[in-house]
Amino acid sequence: MLPTPSTSHVAFERIYEPAEDSYLLLDTLSSENEKLFLQNRFRAASHSPSPLVLEVGTGSGVVLSFLNAHSEVILGRPDVLTIGIDVNKFACKATEQTVIVAQQELTAQNLSHGFYVGNVLGDLTSSLKAGEVDILVFNPPYVPSPELPSLPLGEDSTQTSFEDDSRLLALSYAGGVDGMETTERLLASLPEILSQQRGCAYILLCAQNKPDKVKDGIKRWGAGWAVETVGTSGKTGGWEKLQIVRVWRTDVK
């Protein structure tokens, strides 16, 4: 088990607190199966360019910080670039801190870590240039809800009221119809955002997202794409049974 980054500095009244879904992502990304997949794809053989890892919806930063801290163990190379995006500015700040705290601990122990370029406040991948992302990770707002909370508009209050906080928290879990409204938009952006050569994505789904239907939809993207469930929370069988699907380009040179 690789150590989980500390998030003790994070204000959980307005930022998603790491939960079963977050830990399933950590376990899956560091599983033998995924290490093998990622290392085959990204190992520094013949000076391949440094991979760019993007986490969308970083929240506390626990997942991105984990990938950044353990890039050498997971990807087989330390020269990995990491970047985070969240629609919640407090989550962006918290992520930065979570990543930096973990980096400092590693540096003090003379251990390697990836290179974190920063966090951006934004809606999904809308601020990114096409074709740059090699590994995208998304633990979305996936709980079905009557409506999707509106996104902040970049207005400038630093003071937050209780209502602002609860809207930010709602944005972290409420997913609209089937819990899929935000995830659908993210999936639709993958062909543009993921790098032509090596792009792959890890996306968390819950049972109510109708994962089989989601996977069938991706299979219809046609040749050059594959999708597979690579991690499950299995044991509970409750209404929030979770799984991680890996979506990847198969025409890797």
């Binding site: 500015k89 962006c92 809308s126 996104l151």
Partner: protein
């Protein structure tokens, strides 16, 4: 955020994506801070092939860094050119933008940067 981030960002307005002037975004009134980072030649050598060099030339000159050569160095050239290596180290790894804004060359929209976080959330009329 690190200066390197500008090599991955573009205007969030849909209509700008297809225009060549929306990338790179142009830093405006930016405050820079510098982290001290241990030399990491491997990282620079492996970032080099994925960098949009022309965009980096623009970014470097707009932020007031020494002018970069018109063509990117090859891996061998960079390995044996200490001065170039250290300039890229400073520009790509050590320099952060803490305050200021990024301006789209197509629509002119300004994305504010506060405490190192660039805000790409669009106002209603641009969504």
């Amino acid at each position: 955020m690190k200066v390197l981030t500008l090599n991955f960002l573009t205007c969030a307005v849909k209509a700008c994506k297809s225009t060549s002037t929306s990338f790179p975004l142009h830093p405006k009134d930016c405050e820079l801070v510098s982290d001290t980072i241990e030399p990491n030649a491997l990282l620079i050598l492996n970032i080099l092939p994925r960098i949009d060099w022309n965009a980096l030339i623009t970014t470097a000159s707009e932020l007031g860094f020494p002018t970069l050569p018109a063509l990117p160095p090859t891996r061998d050239e960079l390995e044996s050119n200490e001065k170039m290596m250290s300039e890229l180290h400073t520009l790509l790894l050590e320099t952060q933008i803490s305050e200021g804004s990024l301006v789209c060359g197509n629509c002119g929209h300004e994305y504010k940067i506060k405490e190192g976080i660039a805000n790409f959330l669009l106002p209603n009329h641009l969504v």
